[in-house]
């Protein structure tokens, strides 16, 4: 489903963010990508959502060769994946309901469908009663749950979470992880980039470890093994 094939990414001043990285993720997997800050986790995410292009190698998702997508093809591609960020990235001038429905609206889905799906997803992430609130009126945990609701509203095959718990307290952290596990149980592949040791060790799922832009470990039931 996801294939990174000898992917090298350099930034302007010659910094190598990823160095000949190769790995595969199969449909329905829950994979954690771990590593120190600057190890290349976020670069993997950026390459996967088409925000950056690799200097060498190929990135595949489903039938898409992501590194070859034209700017005009990116919107449609991005509707097939859901992304969650550490800083939530919500539309500050839109309410909870609108933030979630936006993803459906830009995909051109009919209003009837929006009115049906959005409340369901909002209920699933536990935000009933907050539909008309703006992001600024929510706690960090609530904001991240809005972001998750938005990511899953299009029923994507893949959910990418880039340090989703980085700004959250332990209680909210586990709430978010539980939701991600639930999404995974429902059939979506989940790719979790994190440097939270406790989460990775508790999950007991596949772990890809990055260090200095290279894959140093890839274990089926991995643990967080960086000092």
């Amino acid at each position: 489903m996801i294939i990174f094939q000898n992917v090298t990414k350099e930034y302007n001043h010659g910094t190598v963010a990823l160095d000949k990285v190769s790995f595969k993720v199969h449909p329905g997997e829950f994979v954690s990508i771990v590593g120190r800050s600057g190890a290349g986790k976020s670069t993997v995410v950026k390459l996967l959502i088409g925000e950056e292009k690799p200097e060498k190698g190929q990135v595949f998702f489903s039938s898409y060769e992501v590194n070859k997508l034209k700017p005009s093809e990116l919107p449609e591609y991005r509707r097939r994946i859901g992304v969650i960020f550490q800083d939530f990235r919500l539309l500050s001038k839109k309410t909870v309901f609108e933030n979630v429905s936006f993803a459906l609206e830009v995909a051109g889905r009919p209003q009837r469908e929006i009115n049906e799906f959005v409340p369901q997803v909002i209920e699933m992430v536990g935000l009933v009663g907050k539909e008309r609130n703006f992001p600024a009126e929510l706690s960090g945990g609530e904001r991240q749950r809005v972001a998750i609701a938005r990511a899953m509203i299009n029923r994507p095959d893949l959910i990418i979470a880039d340090e989703p718990t980085g700004n959250l307290d332990p209680l909210n952290t586990w709430e978010v992880i539980k939701i991600l596990l639930k999404i995974n149980e429902m059939g979506s592949t989940v790719l979790l980039a994190t440097h939270d040791k406790e989460i990775v060790n508790t999950l007991g799922q596949r772990v890809i470890t990055l260090d200095n832009g290279q894959v140093v470990r890839d274990e089926e039931h991995g643990r967080f093994l960086i000092g």
Partner: protein, 301 residues
């Protein structure tokens, strides 16, 4: 259809929710629109002023009292045959006396003096108006070359040459300055509006990135800003027009004293629809173009 209605909804929602930003953008655009209107009106005033000056410039050819009317009329015809000449008016000696009397009907001393005269002391003349004030010199030269010395008493061009030339250069300066000022202020108004809209979009640039990540296509990102541009343009055109109406009423009498030919209120009454349409076009045009250009740099990936 669904897409357009959603884009319109986002646009209007953004205007409402960014109330303060919208208000400041509209107020800048109102100022720009007022400058634009000011330029149109300035050009109208300039045109009337220069026309009024041009109307006053002419050459009079005074004929000796013994010149027969026939030869004066034949000179008139030859003048009318010139390309440079707009019109030639013949004023006979009798007509000149009538005009003189009418002009001085309030002055008893002159009336009395005229009554004592046995013959008409005034001369017949031809008043020549040129199509372009620059042509008076050519016309004056033409008259001098016609060997009319025996018939002509005097040609006023020689006497008034300096004044005419000054008036001509004044008219030219007013026209030239008008064009320059129009270009300068129109550019200024467009730049200020453009930068205001650009700043408004810049302050939202992070939000644009988020929209992209969620899979919004360019039309979904750009569309609402174009709607905002149209809205700002429309509102500022209407408001600035509402400001303009009493302003014209106030200024009109003052201008009328300077340029009697110009009644700004009448001009406004006759052309307010086209004025408003120009303004609407200007504001909405600037709004749409500014937001379309400003947003483009955020639409790359």
């Amino acid at each position: 259809m669904v897409t357009i209605s959603r884009i319109v909804k986002y646009g209007l929602q953004a205007i409402w929710r960014n109330g303060l930003l919208s208000a400041s953008t509209v107020s800048i655009m109102i100022l720009a629109a007022l400058v634009f209107e000011g330029l149109i009106i300035f050009n109208v005033i300039g045109k009337s002023a220069t026309q009024s000056i041009q109307e006053k410039i002419d050459i009079s050819v005074y004929f000796k009292s013994n010149t027969p009317e026939d030869s004066i009329l034949s000179i008139k015809r030859s003048l009318e045959g010139l390309n440079e000449v707009k019109e030639v008016e013949y004023i006979s000696r009798e007509q000149a006396l009538e005009d003189f009397k009418a002009r001085h009907s309030d002055d008893d001393a002159i009336k009395q003096a005229l009554d004592e005269l046995t013959s008409n002391p005034l001369l017949a003349s031809l008043n020549v108006k040129a199509k372009d004030p620059h042509e008076y010199k050519t016309i004056a030269n033409y008259l001098e070359n016609q060997n009319l010395k025996e018939k002509v008493e005097k040609i006023t061009y020689a006497q008034n040459q300096v004044v005419i030339e000054r008036l001509i250069s004044l008219v030219d300066t007013v026209k030239g300055t008008g064009i320059l000022l129009t270009i300068f202020f129109a550019f200024l108004a467009v730049m200020v509006t453009f930068n205001t809209i650009r700043l408004a979009i810049f302050s939202n640039s992070e939000q644009l990135g988020i929209m992209r990540i969620v899979g919004a296509s360019n039309k979904f990102i750009q569309g609402p800003y174009v709607i905002e541009g149209i809205f700002y343009g429309f509102v500022s055109a209407v408001i600035s027009f509402v400001i303009l109406v009493p302003l014209i009423g106030f200024l009109s009498p003052y201008l009328h004293t300077f340029i009697p030919e110009l009644d700004l209120r009448v001009y406004f009454r006759e052309s307010y629809i086209s004025l408003f349409l120009y303004q609407l076009l200007f504001c909405v045009g600037v709004g749409i173009i500014s937001s379309s250009i400003a947003i483009r740099r955020y639409l790359k990936t």
